[in-house]
Point group: none
Chain length 246, copies 2
Amino acid sequence: MLNEDAGLLAKDAGERGAPIYERMKTQIRAKIETGEWPVNHRIPSENELVDMLGVSRMTANRALRELANEGVITRVQGKGSFVAPKKRSAPALGVRNIADEILERGSVHRIELILAQSETCGHELAAALELDVGAQSFHSVIVHNEDDVPIQLEDRFVNPAIAPDYLEQDFSHTTPNAFLTSIAPIAKTEQFIEAVLPQPWECKVLAIARSEPCILIRRRTWSQDRVVTTVRLLYPGSRYRLQSNF
Amino acid sequence: MLNEDAGLLAKDAGERGAPIYERMKTQIRAKIETGEWPVNHRIPSENELVDMLGVSRMTANRALRELANEGVITRVQGKGSFVAPKKRSAPALGVRNIADEILERGSVHRIELILAQSETCGHELAAALELDVGAQSFHSVIVHNEDDVPIQLEDRFVNPAIAPDYLEQDFSHTTPNAFLTSIAPIAKTEQFIEAVLPQPWECKVLAIARSEPCILIRRRTWSQDRVVTTVRLLYPGSRYRLQSNF
DNA sequence: AGGCTAAAGTTGTATATGTAACTTGATGGA
DNA sequence: TCCATCAAGTTACATATACAACTTTAGCCT
């Protein structure tokens, strides 16, 4: 353990000025993000960190405690500290991964693939993805079912530069959201929510009436200053509502 | 200062078992929520808390530091700690005071009072306000106009125990939201967003068609564990959309 | 073998102390 | 008057130490 982690407090990490506990936090985060410490991996105890790094236990305690508050690790009194399972998007936002939401309600989640193909960017799409007009993009249309009732229509465009093998995915087992966040961590999200009436083809795939009002969420996500994807999420108003408590 | 805050660590707060720093945090939060310490009010310094409460400075430091991380207070090195401005609605879903929003866009905000009266609680309303069936409640219906175009229908019920003179307000100059938050700081918010078709009378006051889909926000707010108000906000889908970036 | 106990290891909390960095106001000199 | 300097107050960080609470393991006794 000591060998691999000798560089845990390396001064060459470009954060010479940062406090010790912050340097410890970023180095531990790095070990987790690179996969060197996988999920559930045991993290050195406070006393081990004291011996390894020559810091005081209170400093190690602060680093680990804050990482636990951020959800990066979990700590169990008497047992130790462990790498936490992958965190999903912020829980406070009320808008989350539809698949998780459905499973949490104890329902069955099933995906119906409507369309998955490569398309050429027009002006509007090029602007949305921050690509050039005429560039290629990936287009997928998916219906998410809860207990075989259509509950969300997902109409998505993806930046091929970030996910070149997007169209090869098997979306019956992995949602586009899960796939994209696994290869490109989300740095920023832009989101509009409005109420609309559905288009005829949308009525068909969602099995709703023309007059059924729907919530439309238009979302763009960035990773490292590049647009990853832009998506339209359509929810039938009679079957879905957003909740956000704060 | 010492007089008013003598009870800051009172053992009768029903959390005898909680750690000292947690008790300090909840007591400070209470002072803020009751308005005893308004926004920007100076919070006792770490050393003052040490003298007042007989705790160690590191314990006071932890309490204040965690409150700062939670956004409840702001701390400035060399100056002190201060009650942070209420920012809770911002990160959640971008739902803000409609009047501010309109003024920010450089438009004119005008209120049209449709109804303001006292009503007896039925089962549903009693449950929403956490009152008894048959108790009195205040009911107001207001249309918010942006440049004389109706943009929001506000259908609100208010707990008279918290705002006994609610009906006496002049809502042409003060919005219900502004009035209520001024007398009862918001501690918690519950919010649902859905898409609906408007009722006939709603179409009339908003001057929209029956088939126009609308965003409906149903919101309840608490102050000190009591429901202050429950409100239905109806936005015509063609005139309004919510934005939330994060 | 089974069960109880003790010990070691781990996290959680609290205190005491010290240094550094920053802000503000007062002081004093040119 | 204006500006530099200093002192006091405040937060930020780090260390050393101690005790409490919890978990696991080892070992002992029956």
